[in-house]
Amino acid sequence: MIMPLFVSLTIVAALLGMPIVFALAFGPLAGFVIDGKQVMAQIGLQRFFAGINQFPLLAIPLFILAGEIMNAGEITRRLVTFSKLLVGHLRGGLAHVNILSSILFAGLSGSAVADTTALGSMLIPAMEKDGYTRKFATAVTAASSIIGPIIPPSIIMIVYAYIMNVSVGALFAAGLVPGLLMGASLMAMTAIIARKRNFPKREGLPSRKEAVTGIVQGFFPLMTPVIILGGILLGIVSPTEAAVLAVAYSLVLSLVSGTLSPGAIPGLFVRAAKSSSIVLLMIGSASLFGWALNIAGIPQSLARLVLDITENPILFLLLINLVLFVVGMFLDAGPAILIVGPVLGPTMLGMDISPIHFAVIMCLNLTIGLATPPFGLVLFASAAVSKLRVGEIVRAMLPFYLVHILVILAITLIPDISLALPRLLGYPV
């Protein structure tokens, strides 16, 4: 297979530090100019515009905004209090609390980095005070934050659903069980480590008064995932409408409970608008790039190449996992999905693999990439929160990486972990 000029131009530009959003457009545009096909540049630009001008994409800024509001309004603290009630009394209690909070937080926000910063800044100091090493506390935070984009709502799943033309609702349903499985497996590993290293164990259960306040305070924030998921999965509202309901609900909740001052709201809109336009621009450029790949016939020839090597879907998926793992080490999950998704699409369909199953594998694998060196946003965020060096965190995370890999293998080999729930809800999978 010959790699066309424009692909090489894009890769070189990206490696030299050109922001991905420009590198994706640079290759095709420069390629057309070199080939003297300026007309193609016009169509390419149309693709860029059409890539952004899509109603389903409105869910992205809205979910990001809802996440910002909930982070600002002390929702995180309430989730942690609630988690302490449930698992705080186990051996290695705060480590379990950290993971459970990540699971609950995942139902509110779709971002692993937000999870690391929000939970890390609160739980790492608390764990240190309780006698855990800072390295271990940071490792647990980083390892569990990758649950965020797997349990819905999830920004990268909306991106995948859009670029691969599958239902957002089906994807959200498919992510729920794998996300919970990841959480449970991380807790199992924590339990093993806790026993081996004799981690602290809190004596006595929380008092009735503590329990009641914790449950009352946790109740309304925890209704958010119920509203979002229930609304979408039962087909009452579209994902975009669910996202705006989440914004309205979290805004009312934070303002009524007095945990968010009205003066802080403009700042939240600024941050949400900024990060969502960065994602949306990338979607626009990726549409342009994907179209250029398609007219060059690359996904099709790649599919033929792969089908010549193996027709065994399991082998293919294992190979893909390896490729994704490497890609995820270098690229953020969103851009990676936008670039790799359309390239692998035809191969996947040629092998009769369910696009929904493939989506879960891809989202999970690339999210783990956020927590692996050398380039991982979660690692950088946790290093910033804990003031540790990335290398130290990585060493402390080794047992958790093992869990990540085992869960990925399980999800790859057993499609039903992902597909049972969407099938039950009547989505075609």
Binding site: A13, A14, L15, L16, G17, M18, P19, I20, V21, F22, A25, F26, L29, A30, V33, Q38, A41, Q42, L45, Q46, F48, F49, I52, N53, Q54, F55, L57, L58, P61, L62, L65, V237, T240, E241, V244, L245, V247, A248, P266, F269, V270, A272, A273, K274, S276, S277, I278, L280, L281, M282, G284, F330, L331, D332, P335, P374, F375
Partner: protein, 169 residues
């Protein structure tokens, strides 16, 4: 002398970014308000608005393209590995070359984009017949035009290490 010119450019760009930041936050506000009203009309009054989807999309497109400007100072995601291992003079030159190339993209998009805008002026947005489609397309050339001074700033940035460098905020 040169550093004064650069300083003026940075100051100008900071104003540009501030204006665009205010604009994208407001556009997000517009989207939220329209969506809430639209959901209320659809589910409570059982009388869906015909224009809300198009109005939200127009805001989304403009928010995204003005966000291009806001992201120019360390906002857009890039692979930074190679530059950090190159020797410093070479890294400076590579950085400049990269932003010259970004400038090339910007100029090309502006060039081609205004053609679209002209074509779009002959059409209207279906549910909002007082808005011409061209005003929606306009976001693309405007966004890319506004990043040109920021490309120049990023290209020159490593050559003025002693100046206070603006950050992403």
């Amino acid at each position: 002398m040169a550093s004064n010119v650069y300083r003026a450019l940075v100051a100008l760009n900071s104003v540009l970014i501030r204006v665009c930041t205010a604009a994208i936050a407001s556009l997000l506000g517009v989207i939220v308000v329209i969506m809430i009203v639209s959901v209320l009309c659809r589910y409570l009054l059982n009388n869906p608005l015909s224009w809300s989807d198009d109005a939200c999309l127009i805001s989304l497109v403009w928010m995204t393209l003005l966000g291009l400007v806001v992201g120019m100072r360390q906002g857009h995601i890039a692979v930074e590995g190679l530059l950090s291992v190159l020797p410093s003079p070479l890294a400076k030159m590579v950085n400049t070359a990269v932003y010259v190339a970004v400038c090339f993209i910007a100029v090309m998009v502006v060039w081609v984009g205004f053609g679209f805008v002209k074509q779009g002026m002959a059409r209207i947005v279906p549910s909002l017949d007082w808005i011409k489609q061209g005003y929606v397309y306009l976001a693309v050339p405007v966004g890319f035009l506004l990043i040109v001074p920021l490309c120049v700033e990023q290209a020159l940035r490593p050559f003025f290490p002693h100046l206070d460098q603006p950050t992403g905020e």
